[in-house]
């Protein structure tokens, strides 16, 4: 069945269908701009068969690629609609994989070149100053902060309290939070505002909902008072502080 048995070592298992395609193209010294699609498809399927025979789970990505190749192959068999014109090249169904393949091969070449650099902590070493004597108290140790450390700190806090009863932490959309902060700033500055004036000139539904949710949250926080003078009338938001002052005068 397979006349040329694969001699692939297990560590050479391909990362994905693209990786396999690149291997087939290089191994068979195929011109990337003129891929013999029937041949490559056959080799691709042979490899899948081989993986199956080893009881390796074939990832869905490989099957998608097999289908894509088969589809291109069938389109190659159809006569070109623009026969006789100069657009033959543009019509080449193989274009669908040629472009992505070139892109992937280029990125692979960059990865290979990167791996050849003298890599820090693998080929060259800097001084190990993690435990530099200057830090006397470990609690005083400072960390370089970045988004990833902020996020992972928050996640580990959530994990830490996950089991505690009576405390429910939900992943709230940050957008409502941001809106709240923004609105409190406005209301604090102006003392009182109408709901309408908090919206942009052409608010979309999301913005209206977001603003409304944020206002409800602010009211819940007891930082503003909400007044509606007539049914369906405009909502007015009054800063609690300003409200107090007015009542006293």
């Amino acid at each position: 069945m397979v006349n040329e048995p694969y001699t692939i070592k297990l560590q050479d298992i391909f990362e994905g269908p693209m990786d396999l395609l690149v291997h087939l193209i290089k191994k068979n010294e195929v011109d990337i701009y003129d891929i013999p699609i029937a041949f490559i498809t056959e080799k691709f399927l042979e490899y899948l068969e081989w993986m199956k025979s080893l009881d390796v789970d074939i990832a869905g990505d490989f099957l998608v690629m097999a289908a894509t190749l088969a589809h291109i192959k069938s389109r190659m068999l159809l006569p070109s609609r623009n026969e006789g014109t100069d657009t033959d090249e543009d019509d080449d169904p193989r274009k669908e994989i040629t472009g992505p393949l070139i892109e992937y091969m280029q990125m692979k070449s960059v990865a290979e070149k990167l791996a050849r650099q003298p890599i820090l902590d693998e080929d060259v070493f800097s001084r190990n100053v993690e435990k530099y004597n200057l830090v006397h108290d470990p609690s005083e140790e400072t960390l370089q902060v970045d988004l990833t450390s902020l996020l992972s700190t928050y996640r580990s806090l959530l994990d830490r309290i996950a089991d505690q009863k009576g405390l429910r932490i939900t992943f709230e959309g940050i957008s409502v939070k941001e809106k709240m902060t923004e609105l409190i700033d406005i209301i604090k500055e102006k003392g009182a505002v109408a709901f309408d004036s908090l919206l942009s000139d052409t608010p979309d539904r999301i913005e209206i909902i977001l603003t409304f949710l944020a206002i409800l949250e602010i009211v819940k926080l007891n930082m503003v008072r909400l007044i509606q003078s007539s049914p369906y009338g405009n909502l007015r938001l009054i800063h609690r502080k300003a409200d107090d002052a007015r009542l006293q005068n």
Binding site: T68, F125, L143, S149, I174
Partner: protein
């Protein structure tokens, strides 16, 4: 082959702690102990004579490169916490304020399980958080939020750009089918490629 002196110097440079003759011998078995000892003393003299920023110091039965004591003032300045450096406690508090703002001190303390007064003060001083206002409930507790400077330091355009724990959790799962992660989008609607990614 590399010079033994050069190898020993690189080991002393990269090592976490002081190295003694036996430890070096283990890494360079070909070298004689006497030779290693001689090289260490040679290096020590060389760096002393050089009169640079650091010397090879004999300590705890071994040798270690160390800066000279007279430089400590400058090195302390180098390590002075900049706005981009925070203690673990401060980072935790900042994370809670960032993700749960507007938030009260009691909520922060509830999550962290410890008093947060000092770290909040530090974050206020560093202008990473601000007082947004007070909740009009008994005790009128202060409500905290993050600042513009917070966004600058974390390189965010707005709070909306803050990644959530969910974003990280999503990385563990396969991408959603509508994520256009198919190897190829075939321009013709091909049933065999459109629903296969799960």
């Amino acid at each position: 082959m590399l010079q033994i002196k050069s190898i020993i110097e690189s080991l002393l440079f990269a090592s976490k702690g002081p190295l003694n003759v036996e430890e070096i011998k283990k890494v360079i078995p070909d070298a004689e102990k006497e030779e290693i000892k001689a090289v260490l003393n040679e290096l020590k003299n060389e760096f002393e004579k050089r009169n640079g920023g650091f010397v090879l110091h004999e300590v705890a039965g071994g040798f270690q490169f160390r800066t000279k004591p007279e430089h400590k003032e400058y090195i302390h300045r180098l390590f002075q916490p900049s706005p981009a450096r925070l203690s673990k406690a401060a980072l935790e508090t900042l994370a809670i304020i960032a993700y749960r703002q507007p938030v009260m001190r009691s909520e922060i303390e509830h999550i962290r399980g410890v008093n947060a007064g000092n770290t909040i003060r530090l974050l206020l001083e560093r202008k990473l958080v601000r007082i947004l206002g007070r909740r009009e409930i008994p005790g009128r507790p202060i409500v905290y939020a993050t600042t513009q400077k917070f966004l600058e330091i974390f390189d965010l355009k707005s709070l909306k750009d803050l990644p959530t724990p969910k974003d990280i959790d999503d990385l563990q799962t396969a991408s959603k089918p509508d994520d256009q992660s198919l190897p190829f989008k075939s321009e013709s609607a091909d049933p065999s490629t459109s629903e296969n990614n799960s």
